[in-house]
């Protein structure tokens, strides 16, 4: 009969397994730590310090239309920041989504392998570009050479030197590679038989792409869209450089605005002392940002799982 005997090698095996398990549980600790850190400054009183929502009511936070945490007359309405964030992100989506999805269709349905071999690395370079570079590009090139000539010189509108439009356009360029590669994955996962059935019925490439492949890959494309939007909402340096630092509730993309991320990065730069309400407002905004992007990520992954189940 075999007996489980104590041996150094068996001990080593279990120690190793335990250590490796600890490594992989670090990711859970990170998530827990993020939640804990955000909640103790905003909702849960910790160490005798009154949290942010002890000073400012949730109602005020979500309905007040002014955001002036550093002024002597303080107002904590997150709406201008959320509005600025969504403005830039939706302009980004308007630019990045069509570009990304069309290039994904091109790469998977039309392009020869050789063309793919050229376009794919370019997209990889674009997606690996540091976001400060995109910010610089928006500020130095897009605003003075594209946005201002069109909207100021041609249409006579007033354009701020930092504005939501330039940041949004470049945001679109930034998310395009991501949309493209995720949608391409979704499109490639559509079984060949569907395409061949389409061609056998006499459809052209156009019909097959638009009426068979894209609808079949739609949930994958939606997931790509959500992930890209989450990325655009969480993007910091691009908007900090090119979109301005001026919290205001406006839908005019030619004005300088402030996003949630810009507020965080500019306020911590000033080294706000901890325990003050300005400092806590950082966490309130970060919590808001975290909840929005986390929800979008969760939904997107759920959609993607559903999509995979359909074809596997």
């Amino acid at each position: 009969m075999l007996r489980r005997q104590f041996s150094p090698s068996r001990l080593r095996e279990s120690v190793v397994e335990w250590v490796l398990f600890c490594c992989s549980s670090v990711s859970i600790f990170v998530t827990a730590a993020i939640l804990f850190v955000l909640l103790i400054e905003t909702v849960i009183p910790f160490g005798g310090v009154k949290p942010f929502f002890g000073h400012v009511s949730m109602w005020e936070f979500f309905t007040e239309t002014r955001w002036t945490p550093t002024f002597s007359e303080k107002h904590f309405g997150v709406l201008p920041l959320v509005c600025g964030t969504l403005l830039v992100a939706s302009i980004g989506a308007c630019v990045g989504l069509p570009l990304g999805i069309l290039s994904a269709i091109y790469l998977s349905e039309y392009a020869k392998p050789k063309t793919r071999g050229i376009v794919k690395p370019i997209l990889e370079i674009l997606s690996g570009m540091p976001t400060v570079v995109y910010g610089y590009f928006a500020l130095i090139f897009v605003t003075p050479y594209i946005v201002q000539p069109i909207f100021h010189s041609l249409l006579g509108l007033e354009v701020d030197s930092t504005n939501a439009l330039s940041a949004g356009i470049v945001m679109g360029v930034m998310i395009m590679p991501m949309v493209c590669s995720l949608s391409e994955d979704a499109i490639r996962a559509v079984p060949r038989s569907l395409r061949e059935a389409g061609y056998a019925l006499g459809s052209t490439k156009y019909d097959v792409s638009l009426k068979v492949v894209v609808p079949a890959a739609l949930s994958g494309i939606v997931a790509a869209f959500l992930l890209a939007m989450a990325r655009a909402i969480g993007e910091t340096m691009l908007v900090a450089i090119a979109a301005g630092n001026n919290p205001r509730l406006t839908l005019n993309p030619l004005k300088s605005i402030q996003t949630m991320t810009t507020f965080i990065v500019n306020t911590t730069k000033g080294d706000t002392p901890s325990g003050t309400i300005e400092y806590q407002s950082l966490y309130a905004v970060a919590l808001c940002l975290f909840v929005i992007t986390f929800a979008m990520n969760v939904v997107s992954h759920a959609v993607m799982r559903r999509f995979r189940e359909v074809y596997h």
């Binding site: 090698s9 080593r12 095996e13 397994e17 490796l20 490594c23 992989s24 549980s25 670090v26 990711s27 859970i28 990170v30 998530t31 730590a33 993020i34 955000l38 400054e41 160490g47 069509p98 570009l99 069309l102 290039s103 269709i105 091109y106 349905e109 392009a111 376009v119 370019i122 997209l123 674009l126 690996g128 540091p130 976001t131 400060v132 570079v133 910010g135 610089y136 500020l139 090139f141 360029v173 590679p177 052209t204 490439k205 156009y206 969480g234 910091t236 340096m237 900090a240 991320t261 990065v265 911590t268 901890s274 950082l282 970060a286 940002l289 975290f290 992007t293 986390f294 979008m296 990520n297």
Partner: protein, 353 residues
């Protein structure tokens, strides 16, 4: 009785020339098709155009500012004297410290998930959590680092819990002559730890992929010869997966190099006239080698933060300086990606499963 069905009249014989024409005529192409396919083409190639314009703008703006003096000097209020040396050193330190903490944990986690884990609820939870963590905005990691590493929950402040419990206000501990401030404050250590948390999901997912590409037969052979699970991983699977892991790690270095926002939050300074540990040249290294140990606990800057600082300067010349900085940054990224591609190609040829 049903009436006899009428026989359709035979079609008039078509003149053979007409038939020929009908058969060979191309069907009219719908305009929508042409428009759509050219839109697709345009969208895909627009990336090339954008890249050219982007790089062109930077090169044009950087004209005259990128020289040896720029690479080897510290920052300055005067644009003609400003340089990126502090950022280059800071970025190198950042890469080194980030990856010495992130690689063991990341590779360990991936090995557990791929080689050991059974499908229990906790493993499933870790997997889902990993993909969600990868989508958390980097600035949120900055806030995490600010609280956990820079301030350490204010435990060491005058009213902090440690001060109350121990009755003393601890500001730093000294280990082997190295003064470690508590809390870490806005030091390189805080930045590197924050960065390693940020990069962890990337490393784990990439290493998992590298491990998955190793065929199971390799593991089976090793186990069949009596090797234990850890011996199989340690001596067979990991060595075979090294090229894949290396490639992904080099690619995630480029993420660390470009990441800016969390480092601003955890206090990388924008204007630095010093090197980490006061080691800015080989002569400094010879003079006080102990600076190497002190460097992680001092203030620092990194390249993208310097660039951000220059972009925000009022004087026009600093836009040129910023462009020069961007070129250095892009050059470094190009080199790293080149190395990654070389490693990938080299081993792809060598290893055929």
């Amino acid at each position: 009785m049903t009436p006899p069905s009428r026989v359709p009249p035979l079609a008039a014989p078509i003149a053979s020339a007409e038939l020929q024409q009908a058969l060979t005529r191309k069907s009219a192409v719908r305009p929508a098709e042409v428009v759509f396919s050219s839109l697709c083409l345009l969208a895909a190639w627009s990336s090339l155009g954008i890249l050219c314009v982007l790089v062109g703008t930077v090169v044009w703006k950087a004209g005259g500012y990128l020289d040896w003096q720029f690479l080897t000097s510290f920052d300055s209020q005067r644009p003609e004297l400003a340089g990126i040396w502090a950022g280059l050193l800071g970025t190198s330190w950042m890469i080194f410290l980030t990856f010495t903490t992130a690689i063991p944990i990341g590779v360990g986690a991936a090995v557990y998930l791929e080689e050991y884990a059974r499908e229990t609820w906790i493993v499933r939870f870790i997997r889902v959590n990993l993909s969600n963590l990868a989508g958390v905005p980097s600035i949120v990691y900055g806030i995490l680092g600010l609280t956990v590493f820079v301030r350490m929950f204010d435990m060491f402040s005058r009213e902090g819990i440690i001060t109350r419990l121990s009755g003393r206000h601890i500001e730093a501990i000294v280990i082997a002559g190295v003064e470690i401030p508590l809390p870490f404050g806005t030091t390189l250590a805080s930045g590197a730890l924050t960065m390693s948390l940020l990069i962890l999901p990337v490393i784990i997912v990439a290493t998992q992929e590298a491990l998955r590409s190793i065929p199971p037969s390799l593991r089976h052979a090793s186990l069949a010869l009596g090797a234990t699970r850890w011996q199989t991983v340690r001596y067979q699977v990991l060595p075979a997966a090294v090229p894949g892991i290396m490639t992904s790690i080099i690619l995630s270095i480029s993420r660390v190099i470009g990441e800016t926002a969390p480092l601003i939050v955890v206090g990388a300074v924008g204007f630095a006239r010093f090197a980490p540990g006061k080691i800015g040249s080989l002569k400094d290294l010879a003079d006080h080698p102990s600076g190497l140990l002190q460097a992680p606990f001092g203030k620092y800057t990194v390249m993208p933060v310097q660039i951000f600082n220059w972009v925000g300067q009022a004087r026009q010349e600093f836009q040129g300086i910023a462009a020069a900085g961007i070129l250095v940054l892009l050059g470094l990224l190009l080199i790293l990606n080149g190395v990654a591609i070389i490693i990938r190609n080299r081993y792809q040829k060598k290893l055929r499963w």
